[in-house]
């Protein structure tokens, strides 16, 4: 392993960390604005022009707030839980190609931290490990609402891992690789080569499961404000709570990258246009997360389980069987 490679990787890691921490903050701004406009409100308006500095104000607030460790919690686990959420979210980003490779000062840059051959497995696995943030945080909090949310978190994550895994199995069978770069290469021939045309069911299933994985609104049960306060985040304050938040938003961004990479052609042939296309698709999926939050009600936990085990999983299995049969003959 030569030094140049090490330096390049470290730089990439730092850039991804910085960009997505900042994006997570700006994501909250967009979320507030979009939700506000959809509800005929203005959203943040007072801090900076059009409330743009609201993110900075919130950051200052979170950083300077007292870090309270309540007396009955299990301190070490309580302290480490938010770090797990944020860290796993960013670790998942390592295998995501954010842009096609480009040349900077006659040096070819691959905007992916580690092009491992099991990319999808790694991304989904890392997002799955993210479960331990809410689970441990909720269980260590000495708060009944947190405990409820931890139990829900475990149930939702484990069930929907099944749906995500099964739904992308069929595309993986077609492409014959687990690397996201290979997925992109398979679909680089233009719109007609997109996997969404041959695997529409898998696309919809994966999309639905993405809402459960990120805990967004129709499946916003883990930290459902109107039932269980802030769930696992109830006892947290200051930057520890902020880490949960960054983790959630970073996850939303990463999954918004993964869906187009898997099904919608990713960055296409690697041209400038393709790169912008990927960013555009990512923006749409991110916007869709906010959009559903304004439009749709939350489902009950039992309905969520029902949907997972009795509807989505059978459909995913049938999809795999049919794909297999078609590929065989």
């Amino acid at each position: 392993m030569d030094v140049a490679y090490l330096i390049e990787t470290v730089i990439k890691v730092v850039v991804v960390l910085l960009i997505f921490s900042a994006l997570a903050g700006i994501g909250t701004y967009f979320e507030r604005k979009v939700l506000a406009f959809m509800q005929r409100r203005l959203g943040p308006m007072n801090v900076g022009p059009y409330g743009l500095l609201q993110v900075a104000a919130d950051g200052v607030k979170l950083f300077t707030k007292e870090d309270i460790i309540p007396s009955n919690v299990v301190p070490n686990i309580f302290k480490i839980a938010p770090v797990i959420t944020a860290a796993t979210a960013f670790m998942a980003a390592a295998a995501i190609p954010f842009l096609p490779q480009f040349t900077l000062f006659s040096y070819t840059v691959h905007p992916i931290v580690a092009d491992i051959n099991i990319g999808i497995l790694y991304v989904l696995g890392m997002m799955g490990v993210g479960l331990y943030g809410p689970l441990l945080g909720g269980m260590a909090s000495a708060n009944k609402f947190s405990l409820l949310s931890a139990a829900r978190g475990a149930a939702v994550f484990i069930s929907y891992e099944v749906v995500t895994g099964l739904s992308i199995l069929a595309p993986i069978m077609i492409v014959g690789s687990l690397s996201l770069v290979d997925f992109n290469a398979y679909q680089s021939g233009g719109i007609t080569h997109w996997l969404v045309w041959s695997q529409p069911v898998a696309f919809v299933l994966f999309w639905i499961a993405a809402f459960a994985e990120t805990g967004r609104t129709p499946f916003h049960l883990i930290a459902n404000d109107h039932e269980i306060i802030d769930g696992f985040g109830t006892e947290y304050s200051g930057m520890r709570w902020g880490l949960f938040f960054i983790g959630e938003y970073a996850n939303m961004f990463f999954i918004s990258f993964v869906i187009p990479l898997l099904f919608l052609g990713g960055y296409g042939d690697g041209s400038m246009l393709g790169a912008l296309g990927l960013l555009g698709k990512m923006a749409f999926f991110f916007f869709f997360f906010l959009w559903t939050r304004a439009a749709w009600p939350d489902v009950r936990p039992d309905q969520l389980m029902w949907l997972c085990w009795k509807v989505l999983m059978p459909i995913a299995v049938i999809n795999i069987v049919i794909t297999g049969l078609v590929m065989m003959f």
Partner: protein
């Protein structure tokens, strides 16, 4: 707008009808059919469209409060005001003490003395807004229409006891000279057309 239509209790004549709601399915096949129907009817997309339409229309209903304020009704009972006589500009309050007497939360304090013209003069007058419940009794009882409620509803103070003094409530003399003193239309005010309705005292008996 007439009340008759609301007084008619015979609801079946008013265009009311029973909404046709299907019975809930009891067997598995019925439930399955309902799920399929709900899945493909696209109701979720109606919801999405509605919020997107509102976003595109950009018909914002926010009042950006400290800069803009909603108008309040003239009968609104906020912090008190003391009115002046229109002609002479002197205070209307005659120091009768009725408001102090009637105040149910005992928050008006008034002190008077006899001045050099042998007239009663108010020397101290304060209202403890921390106790006042803005019931309007003082404005109602005042025989001179002197104490009334105003429209200033934003108050802040460092302590619970928060007083307004006579001079603070009194209409500034320039406001009166400019003819801008507002009469209060709420409790205790003269009802419109009162002249036509008032009867003379029958002295004959």
């Amino acid at each position: 707008m007439h009340n008759e239509q609301f007084n008619n209790r015979n609801v079946s004549d008013n265009g009311y009808y029973l909404v046709d709601i299907e019975d809930y399915p009891t067997d598995g096949w019925g439930k399955f059919k309902r799920v399929v129907k709900r899945t493909f009817r696209g109701e979720l997309f109606v919801g999405l469209w509605v919020v997107l339409r509102e976003m595109i229309k950009f018909d914002i209903h926010t009042v950006s409060y400290p800069q803009e304020k909603m108008p309040i009704g003239p009968r609104y009972r906020a912090v008190h005001e003391m009115k002046r006589l229109w002609e002479s500009g002197t205070e209307r309050c005659i120091g009768c003490g009725l408001c102090e007497k009637i105040c149910i939360s005992d928050c008006i304090r008034i002190d008077t003395k006899v001045d050099e013209n042998s007239r009663k003069e108010v020397t101290e007058y304060s209202i403890n807004l921390g106790r006042c419940i803005f019931c309007g009794y003082c404005a109602e009882v005042c025989p001179e229409l002197a104490i009334t409620h105003g429209g200033r509803y934003e108050n802040a103070s460092e302590q619970r006891e928060h007083f307004v003094m006579f001079e603070d409530m009194l209409t500034p003399i320039d406001t009166l000279k400019a003819g801008k003193q507002l009469e209060f239309e709420g409790f205790g005010a003269i009802t419109p057309h009162e002249d036509e309705r008032v009867k003379k005292t029958p002295l004959s008996y």
